[in-house]
Symmetry: C2
Subunit: 275 residues, 2 copies
Amino acid sequence: MSCKLGILAGGGELPRRLIKLCQDTGQDFFVIAFKGQTDNQTVIGVDHLWSRLGAAGEIISKLKEKHVTDLVMIGPVKRPSMSELRPDWRALQFFAKIGAKSLGDDGLLKSVVSALESEGFNLLGVDDILHDLLATKEIYGKISPDEQALADIKRGVEVGRMMGLVDVGQSVVVQQGLVLGVEAIEGTDALIDRCADLKRDAAGGVLVKLKKPQQERRADLPTIGIETVKRAIKAGLRGIAIEAGGALVVDRDAVVALANEAGLFLIGIEPADYD
Amino acid sequence: MSCKLGILAGGGELPRRLIKLCQDTGQDFFVIAFKGQTDNQTVIGVDHLWSRLGAAGEIISKLKEKHVTDLVMIGPVKRPSMSELRPDWRALQFFAKIGAKSLGDDGLLKSVVSALESEGFNLLGVDDILHDLLATKEIYGKISPDEQALADIKRGVEVGRMMGLVDVGQSVVVQQGLVLGVEAIEGTDALIDRCADLKRDAAGGVLVKLKKPQQERRADLPTIGIETVKRAIKAGLRGIAIEAGGALVVDRDAVVALANEAGLFLIGIEPADYD
């Protein structure tokens, strides 16, 4: 990239990783940080603007003023209520235009992407920049799912796909064919924690994490990292299945080492293989 | 009924209500209580057998020995893991026969119903006996859902139906179009409690509780009672929508009084009206 990258930074440490990469490679960038979403430490020492999700006008003006050409959304963003959002005039016009499509999480993100594109920005996916993060179809680490785990993955794919069709959640936990939990707005961490208590007294369940079929890759890809694996171990799960091309695996080496040590499997799957 | 009623008693107070009705009307009955499911107080002073869900042989023998002709399943039953179930020979034959169909909750219950029917028992629904409990299409109490609440019910119906198609959950909580939570195995109470924390800073969400499309009415109908309404109030929800003909409303008068007092709506809906 010879152009200037605008980083729309969500929570977690992924935005800092990208900022570090830009600094290491001499890539020019500007960060938009969101109140209540972005970590404070993310913007320390870098050129940035603190804004609100609803302040579309301010954000777009600033990005243009800074001569940003390319944009990337990185790190999880919690969706606020309308009253928290306090949309400005620009954002209101946007909402008026997209109307009912804004109901689902993904409908909203997709609309944000096309609105930004219509402003002339080039939208990139995180995996366009941080190439090695995207999950591939493979067994990570030393442990393979056994027959029961494969059956649970199949059931998780069935349920996860249905949820995706109505633009809800990305994760399902299945134990011996029984769906222990389905993720909506609470996030995968909370889902895993909850399933620790719901688990039946038997070999632990499997977390299946899919991309929604209509998901906008550039707006939101689920992420697996050390924290996910730690929680899965603590909850007594047997393994994690993520969609190849549909999730980011952050800190691969550490994730694999941790999973191996705990006897947990981590597998990148092609959902169609489980039909 | 001039015949003898076998009561397969799950948890909660609904089984006691039925037992009371049998006693008041002189209906002959026999209770099967399940360890870890049925309340101890349910069987005090009545002819009963404590058994396990997996002890199909023992249960069927006892029901025949007691000359039971009709059977009713009443009160929620938590599904155990295979190892907790410890199926006896009869139950194993049953599981071998139904195979993969046992995966979903409803698949299992349906198979139990047909297995019991093939043993010559006449299976009744709770609503065949306790006629007034079944939810009807009406607005219970004084409060009606407003436009936003109706939109949230519509979204809840959309998501709940999808979940029902893969035989998971019965309840969804929606706030301003955003799906806060979806019920899997944790039960409606836990879902409501969780959504109290997930609620955005705005007018509270709506609980939508549907029957699964393929649900076996005689094996499992969702129940709304005082406890449900109390939790909904505590969680700051605006209202509850249940499927007409697909849920039992226990203690209607007290439920309505409580909802009115808290400004909560309770509505029995025909899901097809929200397509």
